[in-house]
Symmetry: C2
Subunit: 246 residues, 2 copies
DNA sequence: ATAAAACACGACCAAGTGGTCAGGTTTTTG
DNA sequence: CAAAAACCTGACCACTTGGTCGTGTTTTAT
């Protein structure tokens, strides 16, 4: 549950359309120096309190719209409507739609390197894997929007985050895979290819976030907390049994 | 592997933007009568051979672009470029982008009701589930585009196919769930909630199609046929063990 | 208090979009 | 072979979109 790798991945904008792209958006809250016309002479440090607050509100609204409509399907106006600010104002904080999108993705990536415990290799596989599955399931439950944005990005080939996640992602995965591999070598679980186990966990847990509309369609309503909890149990137990861990 | 339900679901276009929408696109190949100006007096039956051929080519190209760029991200011009036909020509066959999209989705849905064998309930759970998983895995392998289009649709709340799949999907699912339920009742497998098993299978198998770019990123290349085959084995074995079926 | 920086926003624009249409050419039909 | 249907396509248009700009207002620092 605790972090393993500190991932300082920061997505830098890629010029995507024909328009001029000058500098990067201010993600998380750390505002950067900007020079347009002859406005600020000295680089400011953190942006006013107003900026802080508005950037947060905009980010939240943007995530909502991006999640439900996709990048292209999202108009800056739609975000503006949601935060109840004029469009020009949101472009004042984030110089471009692309910048806003990368800012949202940066926020998401920060939560993405959740991995195995640092001492995972010394612990019982069943415990580590159980915790990992539960963490992923809860993420799907509490942050479906972020999950959807991420999924859509990947499905479309990760045009925006590719460079930012490429190395870190490979690192995280290799690390997790090697832990699993070690367990196998120690005879603690049946011989499997670690990658396919990770895929199964990712695919299954993401499903609950990304396909919630399908689930709702099928059940006639969304999963209750109890049902979701049962689903968690099912996934954990099935995977552990599947690995001959229980 | 064989069909269980004959699903005559046909997506009917929903007016989506402000423009006038007259009639539905000609999917699969069955062309419909159309009346614009004073052209065709008698309803034609199947469309000329030229039409047949061009519709197929367009459909194929459209699927490619839709899969990689999403609905909104796809311009009719992009499809036109891919088939090397002028834009106006593709709009001649499919009256609208939305029509083309629904045509593509109709094609996809035709393959979607793959389910358990009709006599599944009398067969061994392990066999039926193994076959089902393999079928889904193979679909992911051979038709990743379709899988991606479908996934993106669902993630965004299925705005287009909702009405078309709502009932059938609920039906298919209920049917499969009841078979599983029966197995449980017969003590043939451990007591589980069927839905969560289906979700696990869907999520895992879809992952291989939708997240292939991530897989490629991690491995440095795409999965080879051998590796994919190992993945199939892993999924089958893990699920079957997970259900206490082997 | 006052200057400077930060914030707010209506009006505007260039580019790209889906879709139409008129008039042509080719194919099919009788 | 001629008429009708089917096919083809460049030109065009209405509309949406991301993004800019000028100017006005509020906040902050000195």
């Amino acid at each position: 549950m605790t972090q393993t790798t500190a991932a300082p991945n920061q997505i830098t904008e890629t010029t995507e359309s024909a328009s001029a792209q000058q500098n990067t958006a201010n993600a998380g809250g750390k505002a950067k120096g900007k020079r347009r016309g002859a406005k600020p002479v000295v680089a400011k440090q953190l942006g006013g309190a107003i900026r802080q607050r508005n950037e947060e509100r905009i980010l939240r609204a943007a995530a909502e719209v991006f999640a439900s409509a996709g990048y292209k399907g999202t108009s800056v106006q739609a975000i503006a409507d949601k935060v109840e600010l004029p469009k020009a104002n949101i472009l004042y904080y984030f110089k471009s739609k692309a910048g806003l999108y990368t800012a949202v993705l940066n926020d998401i990536l920060e939560m993405w390197n959740q991995g195995f415990d640092e001492r995972a290799i010394e612990r019982e596989p069943a415990d580590v894997i159980r915790e990992y599955i539960l963490a992923k399931m809860r993420y799907s439950r509490t942050r479906p929007q972020e999950s959807k944005i991420f999924a859509t990005e990947i499905i479309h080939g990760a045009p925006v985050i590719r460079d930012a996640i490429d190395l870190p992602m490979v690192g995280w995965t290799k690390q997790k895979a090697s832990v699993i591999q070690a367990w196998v070598a120690q005879g603690k679980m049946r011989a499997i290819e670690p990658l396919y186990l990770l895929f199964m966990i990712w695919g299954t847990t993401q499903f609950y976030a990304d396909f919630d509309s399908e689930i709702t369609m099928i059940k006639g309503r969304a999963l209750s907390d109890e049902e979701f909890s049962k689903a968690e149990d099912f996934v954990v137990e099935t995977v552990l049994r599947g690995l001959a861990l229980i």
